[in-house]
């Protein structure tokens, strides 16, 4: 029973992490319909910048965190401006391949600078975060993940619901020509959504780094795990991304714990195929109806 609960907790926290990562992905997809293959690499960049600032340069944690977020925000802007904007209106495969090229490029750059080893942060989380419940122990990292995740999800909820920029973004996602006609600056919306997505990526990268240590290969592999998560929830649903993340996280840890660790890596994709066969637009995705 104890084993079960430990796995449950692991699964929930990994799932929450996936949900956070998926959030940035859904953000980009919702506003610009771009399938971002460079997601894991953006996460890794955030994690490494934080590593440099907090562990190597020994800045105070809050300052390092803020600088990292600001840096990724601008990185998102730059990527949109120089790589994605020339492709507005181009075929889908070209946009996808561009993000693949971006992923390869960023990964090569990071391997060049930081190498393929595992790095880890200085321990900065207070011990009081560790949570005991009978014999079950919830490590402080997981609690921190959960708190940070909740805060950001709440912030995003408010951002989309009440801020004017958030409403612009929703309008662009809903109907781009109509939004344009009503005077929404669509290109700026794209730029901002990339910037925010990069920021969310950086944050989930940092959390992942705290839990597992940072390794370029591993973080970019998590970037690919985002696909089953968002497909399960529906590509354009934020609530779906969270639920999908938690389901995939639980599925992974339970398969790893009870069946085999080899299957663990591939089970999300098997589930993905099954879901696509049964419910092609995910649990909460927008169903596109086409008739001939």
């Amino acid at each position: 029973m104890e084993f079960f609960f430990q796995i449950l907790i692991n699964g929930l926290s990994i799932g929450f992490l996936y949900a956070l990562a998926a959030l940035g992905f859904v953000m980009i997809f919702k506003s610009s319909s771009v399938l971002n293959f460079a997601h894991g690499e953006l996460m890794a960049i955030g994690a490494f910048v934080f590593l440099v600032l907090s562990t190597w340069a020994k800045l105070p944690i809050w300052l390092a965190f803020l600088i990292t977020l600001a840096g990724s925000f601008s990185l998102g802007f730059i990527i949109e401006r120089f790589f994605l904007r020339p492709l507005i209106g181009e075929a889908l495969i070209e946009v996808i391949m561009l993000t693949v090229g971006l992923a390869i490029m960023l990964k090569g750059l990071m391997l060049f600078i930081f190498g393929g080893d595992i790095h880890s942060y200085v321990d900065f989380l207070p011990q009081t975060l560790t949570f005991h419940w009978g014999a079950i122990e919830v490590p402080g990292v997981y609690v921190a993940t959960f708190i940070v995740g909740l805060i950001f999800l709440g912030l995003f909820g408010f951002f989309f619901k009440y801020s004017s920029q958030g409403i612009y973004m929703r309008s662009v996602a809903d109907n781009q020509p109509a939004a344009m006609a009503l005077g929404v600056h669509v290109r700026r919306v794209f730029a901002i959504s990339w910037a925010i997505a990069a920021l969310v990526c950086a944050m989930s990268g940092i959390v992942l780094g705290i839990i597992n240590g940072i390794n370029v290969h591993e973080v970019s592999a998590v970037g690919l795990k985002v696909f089953p998560v968002v497909i399960l929830g529906g590509l354009d649903s934020i609530g779906g991304a969270i639920l999908g993340g938690i389901i995939i996280g639980l599925l992974e840890t339970f398969t790893g714990g009870y069946i085999s660790s080899g299957l663990r890596e591939v089970i999300p994709y098997i589930v993905l195929i099954v879901i696509l066969m049964i419910k092609p637009y995910g649990l909460f995705g927008l169903v596109e109806i086409e008739r001939v």
């Binding site: 790589f83 391949m97 390869i104 090569g108 696909f227 195929i273």
Partner: protein, 355 residues
């Protein structure tokens, strides 16, 4: 012999047959003939071992790239699992050759057929999905197949892989690079010929109609699901055939090379070469393999001249350059090398009165 025809200075096609011809002028036929003579009578005798090896690899990959171009460039179904299908072909050939003892001549096409069946199975989601969703479904098939390669140890030998005896064809041993060169390039020429002609048939036109607008295609009475599956089958057949040749050429296979990276490499080949262009797939393959080899030679060179430290640190820059090449092509020449080639040709033809 009739008079050689020059290129007309405009589009003067009067019949559908004229529109569909492969060679617009007789000079095209002539230069193809010269190219074939160079390919079969000159190149294998003037190259050294290493260059011949690289050319062989280009030939094998080009077959699979043509298959992928039929699927992505002509039918518009994005597949991220082509590397795994290539692997299915390699494993089928290896298993047929070692466990069932089939000869080369049967094992290779049969491996293609097996891969076509696997490809059709993973093409099934295309019944309900398209665009992004299909792309992700094929990504899943890549991971599932990779898992099968590693875990089905009784059949695939797990991470150890399988080693294959060198094949023989009509009593000729295919162990040497030069003998295999002929096998690969005869296959490549035949399969290119098949692909070019496939596009001119009813099936090819249906594929293009599905790519351009699937709803309109269905409205015109094309059963799109059958045609999509057919496209998946043909594309996987090409991949499987190439994979089988790869297995025989390498003489031992492990699950290692057939990963997502290989699938991405294939897509990079056809994008850089030109989507929807059969010669483009071959140009793209040459470009990517040449880029790979140049970058690894550069790394090796730096290590040999005593700069081992630099050599190791710049190794990841290979990936960087690779990614950069893809991005630059997509942004500046989205139609790929096939378009560059067309521009070069027409600027020669129009000289000095180019406009």
């Amino acid at each position: 012999m009739r008079k050689l025809q020059f290129h007309p200075c405009g589009n003067f096609n009067e019949t559908y047959e004229r529109e569909l011809t492969i060679f617009e002028t007789d000079y095209g036929r002539l230069s193809m003939l010269i190219g074939l003579i160079l390919l079969f009578a000159v190149i294998p005798f003037i190259t050294n071992e290493y260059v011949l090896y690289v050319i062989n690899i280009i030939g094998i990959y080009a077959i699979a790239a043509i298959g992928l171009n039929l699927l992505i460039g002509y039918t518009g179904q994005i597949s991220l699992g082509h590397g795994a299908f290539f692997g299915v072909g390699a494993y089928s050939a290896a298993i047929l050759a070692t466990k069932a003892g089939f000869p080369f001549l049967i094992a290779v096409p049969l491996a293609g057929v097996i891969t076509a069946i696997v490809g059709m199975f993973f093409g099934l989601p295309s019944a309900r999905l398209k665009h992004l969703y299909l792309c992700i479904a094929t990504l899943a098939s890549q991971f599932i197949l990779e898992y099968v390669f590693v875990q089905w140890e009784s059949l695939t030998g797990g991470a150890e892989g399988i080693s294959i005896p060198s094949g023989s064809l009509f009593g000729i041993d295919l162990g040497s690079d030069r003998n295999f060169y002929y096998v690969i390039f005869i296959c490549l020429v035949v399969m290119t010929w098949m692909a070019v002609n496939l596009i001119r048939t009813r099936y090819g036109r249906a594929f293009i109609a599905i790519r351009d607008n699937d709803q309109a295609a269905e409205g015109m009475g094309i059963p799109i699901f059958q045609y999509k599956l057919l496209s998946f089958a043909i594309s996987s057949f090409y991949a499987g055939f190439a994979g089988a040749l790869y297995a025989y050429y390498m003489m031992s296979i492990t699950p290692e090379p057939f990963n997502l990276w290989l699938s991405i490499e294939y897509i990079a080949m056809i994008i850089i070469g030109g989507l929807g262009s059969i010669p483009g797939s071959i140009f793209g393959t040459i470009f990517i393999i040449a880029l790979n080899e140049t970058l690894s030679l550069a790394t090796e060179f730096l290590m040999n001249v005593g700069a081992t430290g630099i050599g190791i640190t710049i190794a990841p820059l290979r990936e960087f350059v690779y990614g950069l090449a893809i991005i630059l092509f997509i942004i500046f020449e989205p139609k790929g090398l096939a378009e560059v080639w067309r521009i070069v040709r027409s600027s020669f033809r129009l000289w000095p009165f180019s406009y």
